[in-house]
Amino acid sequence: MSAQPTHLVEQLKSGLDAPICLTWELTYACNLQCVHCLSSSGQRDPRELSTAEAMHVLDELRDLQVFYINIGGGEPMVRRDFFDLVEYSVGNGIGVKFSTNGAFIDTDKARRLASMDYLDIQISLDGVEEATNDAVRGAGSYRMARTAMDNLAAAGFGPFKISVVVTRHNVPQLDAFKELADSYGAQLRVTRLRPAGRGADTWHELHPTLGQQRQIYDWLMAHGENVLTGDSFFHLNALGDPLPGLNMCGAGRVVCLIDPIGDVYACPFVIHDEFRAGNVRDEGGFSRVWKQSELFRSLREPQSAGACASCGAYDACQGGCMAAKFFTGLPLDGPDPECVGGEGEHALQTVVPGSAPKPSMDHTKPVRLVRKPVTAS
């Protein structure tokens, strides 16, 4: 497309003037407690950004010409100012894509959402039927999501997205997910499970097996042009021809995360002090964090291939996902825990149990230790 071919990926790795893909988790509050939640959400954090602070961040993003933001949580619709913030964002030329479990999309809200421009919605669903989904996302969450989809379809929202985190249990359902999305005229989005947040505790049981990695790759090669992936499966590129999309880790280079209390992290999968670049409340705001933080500057330097340097597949897989390595206790300059060459499995065996870093924050709701007495009937 260019008049003079350039190595785009190399240039992107050295960073952009503003992020392409900015995720903003509006709240840690959530009506669900998914076992793989990246942000260990549940309870609202009292330090949450106020409406005015959030709008100030949006002003900054407008000035930086951020084209769109990905809003998540927690459950973002829990915030009372949710619609105010979305309308303010869109009114300032920042398109919004938000992820939701659908609990609050009743018929009225669906109509309101359908009337808005530059708004995309992702409904999370991790199983094509109740048993598979609810085992991960909690009792009642499947019905909740399907009801929201029905309401959006009835309101004429148009092509919303169904967002699936690929696990060991739903790999066999990929075709069925596609059929479900097609039945709604929706777009399917599948992304990689990361061992972040509560996912750090459940990843070992939930992540796709080595054999399934090949299945996912083949399926994406066959359907990739019509399925969104957030370019999250580039570690699979070592299996053959590259998947569509950007083949690189964008953390701190083209993507970042703003969390509910304004902390800025390199990506949505690394909510940990080691990957915290600053806070939007600091002097200079988000712009200064993006442009000048020491962490982001170091991520924009050429990265070492480390233990993967002698592997012929490194150019294809780029060593995989930084977050996946970090939270499984692997060195960042070594193989991804899901390395398709099997190097990750070997490396995981050398990790001392319990030595992997723990997420810095946990907003999981406290477990009710005293059960309500069961009334005899």
């Binding site: 497309m1 260019s2 008049a3 003079q4 071919p5 350039t6 785009l8 240039q11 050295s14 952009l16 003037d17 503003a18 392409i20 893909c21 010409q65 084209f67 769109y68 030329g93 398109g95 530059y118 995309d120 042009e225 969104l228 992936t229 957030g230 370019d231 569509p244 999309g245 950007l246």
Partner: protein, 104 residues
């Protein structure tokens, strides 16, 4: 970020065609050139050369593609590659034919 790097084969734009930046597209300067985002179809496109950015931003101010290239100082031997780039951009709706009633 689907479809960032590969563009379907497009019909070549003619040098005498009258193009403009699509009104739903925003162009953000970057060290390598610019990012173009189409708010309607949600496509994000990399403009990987500063000269392409200049041309794309100037299309609406000149009567034809040829006049734009000339005005932007693009030497004739480079025109074919710009035609290819503009064809691809028209296919992604980053640029479009000016409406017939637009002023000349």
């Amino acid at each position: 970020m689907r479809g960032l790097l590969t563009q379907p084969v497009a019909v070549a734009v003619a040098l005498d065609s009258r193009l403009e930046l699509h009104p739903q597209v925003a162009v953000r300067p970057e060290p390598f050139g610019a990012l173009a985002y189409h708010y309607g179809n949600r496509r994000l496109i990399f403009l990987k050369h500063p000269d392409v950015v200049t041309v794309v931003n100037s299309l609406g101010q000149h009567p034809t593609v040829a006049a734009t290239l000339d005005a932007c100082g693009v030497t004739p031997e480079r025109w074919p590659s710009f035609v290819t780039a503009l064809s691809s951009l028209e296919n992604s709706e980053i640029v479009r034919e000016r409406p017939a009633d637009a002023p000349r």
